[in-house]
Amino acid sequence: MLWTDGFGMFGRGLDPWSEFQRIENEMNRVLSRFVSPSTGDFPAVNIWTDGEEILVTTEIPGIDAGAIDISVTGKTLILKGAREPEQLDEGNSYHRRERWYGQFTKAIELPFTINAEKVGARFANGILTITLPRSEAEKPKKITIKSA
């Protein structure tokens, strides 16, 4: 931030606190460029794209592949699943418990409309990979210019 503005900066408004508000807004604006637009809910996802297809990966180890629910509507991908806690035998106790368990639902906004018929999913080594091809109707059309 430049201070060369001097007193003029506070002089612009009557309320000096508005300046702090302005700084906060500015900070948020700068930070928002680095922070993703998505919610950040569990599970964390990475999204890859090449304009024709989207690849969504997520790390959900220890889940039964059959218990993962994937649905696509338009530009939204919804992931649902659950992981049960370890069943403790009589007399056993936790020394450390860091692993997650429970249910999750996550909605992911995709950059373009998906051809829901052709969505593919693969679950290997605890990583779920979903391939989502762009809907044909939405693909950019190339327009050729005719010479007169």
Binding site: S38, N46, W48, T49, E59, N92, Y94, R99, G126, I127
Partner: protein
């Protein structure tokens, strides 16, 4: 269900002062559960991306090291447009007590979860010495 433990981010190991690394990847701390029973200790670690061939478990003296290598590639034409988690190897080091029967440790990996079963020694190492009045 908003389970608190699920909100935790993948934790990257900041310092690896024990070993010099030759692989240019990040290393993450896997989340673990340690369960103690009467006759065994079970360590469960979430290490998505590893399989039975890429995980190494070593026990040297009393130091148990879990290391998982993650090899992952995306199609070259793809660009990462949104990232919520980082990809890298896993490592975690524990000190274990001497009561573990080292010969009978079992390890298996399924769906990115490593499970180590470490049976305890039945033979008590400590011997109580009776103190007689002189």
């Amino acid at each position: 269900m908003a389970d608190k433990s699920k909100e935790m981010q993948k934790k990257e190991i900041e310092k690896t002062d024990l070993v010099e690394r030759t692989r240019a990847t990040k290393i993450y701390n896997p989340d673990v559960d340690i369960i103690e029973g009467k006759d065994r200790i079970v360590v469960i670690a979430d290490m998505p991306g590893v399989n039975e061939n890429s995980v190494e478990v070593t026990l040297e003296d009393n130091v148990l090291t879990i290391y998982g290598r993650v090899d992952w590639d995306v199609p070259e034409r793809m660009k990462l447009t949104h990232a919520e988690y980082g990809i890298g190897d896993y490592q975690r080091i524990f000190t274990i007590s001497g009561e573990i029967n080292r010969e009978k440790i079992q390890a298996n990996v399924k769906d990115g979860v490593l499970k180590l079963v470490m049976p305890k020694n039945n033979m008590p190492k400590m011997k109580k010495i009776a103190v007689k009045a002189g």
